[in-house]
Each structure stands twice: as structure tokens, then as C-alpha cells.
Symmetry: C2
Subunit: 484 residues, 2 copies
Amino acid sequence: MSRASFEELQRRLQEISDLGKTMSLLAWDQQVMMPRRGAAIRAEQLATVGRIAHEKFTSPEIGRLLDELRHFGEEHEYDSFEASLIRVVSRDWEKARRVPSDLRAEMSRSAALANPVWVDARKNNDFASFLPVLRKNLDLRKRYIDCFDVGDEPYDIVLDDFERDMKTAEVRQLFDYLKAHQAPLVKEVAARASDDGPATGEFPLGVQKQFELEVAHAFGFTEDAWRLDPTVHPFASGTGITDIRITTRYFLDNLDGLFAVMHEFGHGLYEHQIDPGLERSPLARGVSLGMHESQSRMWENLVGRSLPFWRHFFPRLQELFPTPLAGHDAERWYREVNTVEPSLIRVEADEATYNLHIILRFELEQAMLADEFPLEQLPEEWNRRVWDYLGIEVPTYALGNLISAQIWEKVVADLPGLYGEFEQGEFGSLRDWLREHLHRHGRKFTPAETLERVAGTSEIDPEPYVRYLREKLAGIYGIAATAA
Amino acid sequence: MSRASFEELQRRLQEISDLGKTMSLLAWDQQVMMPRRGAAIRAEQLATVGRIAHEKFTSPEIGRLLDELRHFGEEHEYDSFEASLIRVVSRDWEKARRVPSDLRAEMSRSAALANPVWVDARKNNDFASFLPVLRKNLDLRKRYIDCFDVGDEPYDIVLDDFERDMKTAEVRQLFDYLKAHQAPLVKEVAARASDDGPATGEFPLGVQKQFELEVAHAFGFTEDAWRLDPTVHPFASGTGITDIRITTRYFLDNLDGLFAVMHEFGHGLYEHQIDPGLERSPLARGVSLGMHESQSRMWENLVGRSLPFWRHFFPRLQELFPTPLAGHDAERWYREVNTVEPSLIRVEADEATYNLHIILRFELEQAMLADEFPLEQLPEEWNRRVWDYLGIEVPTYALGNLISAQIWEKVVADLPGLYGEFEQGEFGSLRDWLREHLHRHGRKFTPAETLERVAGTSEIDPEPYVRYLREKLAGIYGIAATAA
């Protein structure tokens, strides 16, 4: 009887999963393929599919099945598919049923309609044309928050969607720690500018794509299960474990697009290495945004900005781009891709200042939700804080970076030959380690439980990242390898 | 009260239309973009979205609303949106509710799973690997037919889905007429082989795409509402009136890909020029497959294989492909693209033998549904009939070709300057005429009613096509311009 109920639950969740992945395709296509004038009807399609998925998920029938299956779930091992599915879905259902389907649909529609407006506004540096759209989306977000009992801070509601169980106050605490321990490091670096000039000249776009694919293939990208396409704002997506879509963008005068590819590869690999037995269930996703970012930042920075990686790939890079890289060698290129230099654009920021952008957004989003300033002033508020932080007073790190370093210490301890493999252009051990310890679990466990399994502690700990960064910058800038 | 019911019906149909267009995107992506290993989950996604759309459409609630709205519909003018929607949907609903949602879902899933198997089998010339998939799809088709009261012939049920109200016997009659009147024409041509040799040499693929886009833009393709992509088997699709996707394929030694682009452009233009007021309703589609094919064949043949068209475009073509077209001029190229020469592959067939393939399939499909031979023998049956027909005994024409010539006689009478415009590379008058007389109506009327409006008669008439072809071939091969 319980088995039959479980199968009925599973069947319903499969249908909802199919609708979710269908929305992923509608959204991927919108940003990568869709002709501009398709935007209005696409917003309706996203709203309709989103509404149906939400209606089906929040139906009382699902609640009844979950009630019926409580004991069935407890009878199974904690790690089993059955127990995990019932546990995770029960929590999802309790949250989702508080949100009316029409609000969900309106959120999908408005976000889809906002995208082309944002693309145009960004191109024309025209915040005014984006303002009404931003206001609409912010109002919807507030209505969403109103569906829940707000405890200490409204932002907790939003944060929980991305980082289950985490409180805004905890993030603030982590960021405060980082402010205290990060500032000295960056000050030390700032005092020692490198003598190297940067690579100058053009990196032809077609050749960039060729090199990106060579790196991606070495990482584990295969044509039969992955795509790489250009877009305005890089992201990773897909319609299933064996259909992963990553995107990047191209600049003629630098290789930022390559680092975006490695970043999005990390996201894609997480989804690609989930246990195929979880496919078509709500467990077939990364456990949280922080954990997802740990994977993207790992492949972008801990691998893609490491010296062993470039010992292998630099000769090929120089062969493909002889003009801008004349006079470079692997070591100099390694220093260049690790230059600490503030940028106004988050996705182009270097490893050390990236998180300034994150904390900036974190604080701005809280302020917007709390109506702390009129929305028209967003550019001024953004500018004020950008300059506060990018004046290099309080560099901080985002959760994903912190987690990536925690995991990395485990990886390196388990795989002593890892850097030697990178120098050979081999990344299979890393890929397999991540699948075994992290990826395959999908959303079976909470973020804290997942972190416990992969890093041996359930707490996000900022120390490994600070340590990693200090050691790396010590090698490049000659600062002390341990804090004074 | 009736107005409120009508709005409720409309709202429900909008949701179903969004799901239908979402399926179009899932299918387009599958054939154009999807990595190979995405096939299995894509089949589930198509099945799920298809099942939900079918469940929503066949719900008793829609039947109740249609009942309630019978008088409301009759009170409105026949051509009005209200009357047309109620009329067309009532008939669709009566058909759809006979088909179980699970069968619909299984048909979507099986068709999607068949696609990659067909692509591989086709590449490897391996019918055996396709056989089980074909058998499964054929069985489902038979189960579908069993949902209806079969009158004279089972094939009528299938035909009605594509060509509402038409009977298999009527098609057979048209084809018989064509056999009687077409054979002499082709025999006459066969006796007079052209002295010209064909263009030989390579047509680089990138240059082909460039020329295709130049032609498509002259026809009315715009980047903001259309896409052109490569695929295995050319088709037209889209997610709405302002998001039209056409596809083609490329061969290094010929320009068949260009004619596929013009063909698919004709399909796309039909959907693109539907009255925007019909968007998100079941009326926002072409009225029938025959009418749709009339549009594709018109742009491919009546425009794209006409001498005025090539008077304008040949110089540019020669500039782009100087090697294979050395020694050609517009007239010789016009003769070459109108060469009558049997081919085994339908989409590569010339204008005169194309319909052999159609009648072959028409007869084979009837025989398969009636179990007239074991399915393993399909290649033999196909070969036997191919050689019967492509031995040039009974050339025939498909409905779309016949309709295209009927419409064309009206177009030319209304627009005496048409060919002069083609020679200037201008196609706006044709486009506008088609929108006004045909495209904008979408599915408001029956195929017969639609034909009446666009061609002045509700009957498909084979004479104009035979006349058109004889006149054209007279110019090229020197046969008599009127039948003896």
C-alpha cells in the first residue's frame, strides 16, 4: 500500500520535474536562441508552464501522499532514495503551498519580460528604461515574502530558497569575519604591483571558442551530452543529466570568456554527475546555490587559475594567440590571470575582488526589500557602495568561494598526485572525486549535511579560503605566506 | 454571462496553446540543438507536456463551455473571432475527447524516441534498426484510429487530422486525374534531354548560408522574428507569430539547401502572417497541411524556380560561386534548376517528380495501416513502388502543388507587375497578397472555405498545375505549350 503511494508520488513528481526542465529549455532558448520579438509570447509560455507545475505540486493530493508516506520514509535508511525523496519533498511542499499559483505565474512572466528590457538597458546604459521592470519584479518578490511568516528579517525568506536553513545573520557574520581577515591581505598585495605588463592585442573570437572547447573537453565536456553557446550573461542550464548547456561571451581584447567557460563547466558538471537514478525527481539538482558556486569557482579558480593547469595549457594558448602572448611564459601568464585589480563588473572580477560584488548585492537586495531608498536611486546606491568597497576597504568572499576552498583541502589530501595530473592536462581524478563525494547526491541532503559529507564539517568555514589565497598571492606578489 | 463563459473558454485555450507552442520548442530543439544523449528525457518531457495539454483540452469543462456558447457563437458573424473559435474548437474537441490522454502521451514519447533512431538508421542505411521503432509507432497509430468510428477506410481518420473533411477516395481521384494528364507531359520531356551540362564543383557551405540569408531577407525574413539553422531533415517551426524557425541542410556539390530554405520560408511566412489577434488561440495555425504545402511549394517553385527570380539573383549567385557557375547565365541556370530528373529522395526531387514520392507514401501508408504486407518488407515494397513510379509511368502531384497553382493564377491576375518586381528582387506585393487573402485567417475556416476565399473555388483543381507545368517545360524543353 505504502509502496503504491510512493510510486504514485514519484509519478506526480516526475511530471513536475518534466515541466521544470521544460521551463529550463524555454529560458535557455530565450537567452541564447530566441529572436527578439519572441519575448512576449515566451513570457506567457513560461508563466503557463510554471503555473501548471506549481498547481500540480501544491495540490492537496501531494500533501495527502506525503502524510501517508511519513512512516514509509522513516522505515527506509536516511540515505535511501525513498527516505530522501519524502524528506526533501515534504519541506518543499510546506513552502510551496503557501504561494498562490497566480503569483508564481506572474513571477515567471515578469522575469521573462524583464530579460530583453535588461539586455537593451544594459547595452544602452539606460537604467531609467529598466526601472519600471525592476520595480514590478521587486513588488512581486515582496508579495512572495508576504506569503510566509517573516521571522527576524524578510531577506531570510529569499535566502532560504537558495541556501536552505541559512539565516541572513549567519551570512553577515561570515562576511564580517572575512572583512577582518581579508583586508590586511589585500593591503599587502596592493603595495606590491607586478612589473609585468598585461598581454595586449587581439584574441580572435573563433580561436577563443576553439581553445575553450579544448579545455572543456579535457575537463570532461563531450559533444553527446553538452553544448557551449554565446550569450549576453553567461549561465549554465540543461534539460537533464545528459543534456547540459553552458554559455559564455566573447571580448576581443581578453580571455574572460574562457574563465566563464570553466566557471559554467563547474556548474554543468555538478548537474551532469548526479546519480542517474535521481533523474526526473526533485533530487536531481544541486543542493544549494552556495554549493553550486563552490563547483563553478573551483573549476574556474582552483583549477583554471592554477600554475599546473597553465604549465600544461600555456604552450597551446601561445600557439593559438602568438601576437598577444609574445614574450609570455606559463609563469608570467599565471601571474597575469591572478592579477588583483578591482573591476566594476562582477563576472569579470578577479578572484580576490569578486566577492565585493557579492556583498554589495547582498546588502543592496536587503535594502531594496526593506524600502530603504527609492528605487530610482539604485544607480547612486550602487555607485556609492561600489566605491566604498572597490576602494578596497572591505573585500569579502562569497559562500561558494569559501566552500570551494574547504572542499579543495579534502581533495588535495585524498589525491596527492592531483597537480601532477593537471600538468599532464588530466582532470579525471578530480571529476571522479567530486562525483563520489558530492555530485551524485543531488539534493538528497540539506546543504549542511552535504557539506559534512564532502568537507567533513557542516559549518561554512572561511579560514581555508583565506589561507589558500594568501599562499597563492605569496607566490605571485611575494607577501608573507602566513598572516602576521 | 455568455461573454464571461467565452472569456473562460479563451483563457483555457490560451493555456493549451502555450503548451502546444512549448512542445514545438521541445521538438525544434531536439532536432536542431539537443546533444544526442538528451533524447530519452526529451521524450518524457514531450509526453508529459502533450498529456497535460490533451487532458486540459478534453476536460468536460471545455465541453460544458462549448455547449453553453453554442448560441453565443451563432449570434456572431461567421467570420468573427468569437464564432470562428467556437466553431473550430467544437469540432476539435469532439475528435480529441475520443483519444485517451495516455495514448496521446505515448504517441508523443514514441515519436520523440524514434527521431534519433531514424537519424542513425538513415546515416547507416540500416532499416533493421529502425524497424521496431516504426512498428511501435504504427501500432500506436492503429490504436489511435480505433478510437474513432471508421467509415469507408481507416486512412480517412488520419487524413482528416491533416486535411479536414477530405476523404481518401477524393485524394485517389485527384491522383488518378493527374496520372492521366501528367504522363504525356513527362514523356514528351523525357524525349528532349537538355544539351547543357550541370554546374560542377563545390559550393562552400558558409557561402551557401550567406546567399540563403540574402534571399530569405528579400522574401521577408527578419532577424528579430526568424531563425535559420542546419538540421538533418528540413522543417519549419516556431513558438509564436513573431518567433519563426526554419531549417535546412547543406551539400557541398549542390544548392538543394537553398531550395529547402525557400520552401521552409513559405511555411514560416504562413504562420508569421496570421492575424496577431489570433495568437494564443487554436486558430493561430495554418488551416491544413495541403494549404501549408501550397505555401512552401509556391515560394520554392513558383517564385524560386522562376526566370524573373533568377534574372535578379543569378549575378549575385555567380559572384559568390564563380567556379561551379563559370560559363552559366541566368537562363541556363534557370533550366538547370528546372531539370526533370527522378531522384530517390523526396526532398531533393525536382518539381515534376516530387509528387511521385507523395503518392508512393500515400499508398504505402494505407497499405501499412491495413497490414497488407509484413513490416519487414517495407524496403522491398518501397523499392518496388519507387521503381514502378520513378520509371516514370505515373507521375502525380501532391495537393499542395495543385493548390499552389490555383492560388497563383489568382495572384498573377491581381498583380500584373509581379514578375517585374521579382526581377528587381522585390517580393512585398506577393507577401501582402498572401497575408490579405490567406495567411491572416489562420484556422478560422475549413480548408474548403479557405480555398474558396483565396482561389475562388472550394474544390482542389488539378488543371492549373498541369497548365503551369506544361507552359514552364515548354519554355525549357521546347515541347508544345498546350496539350495535344
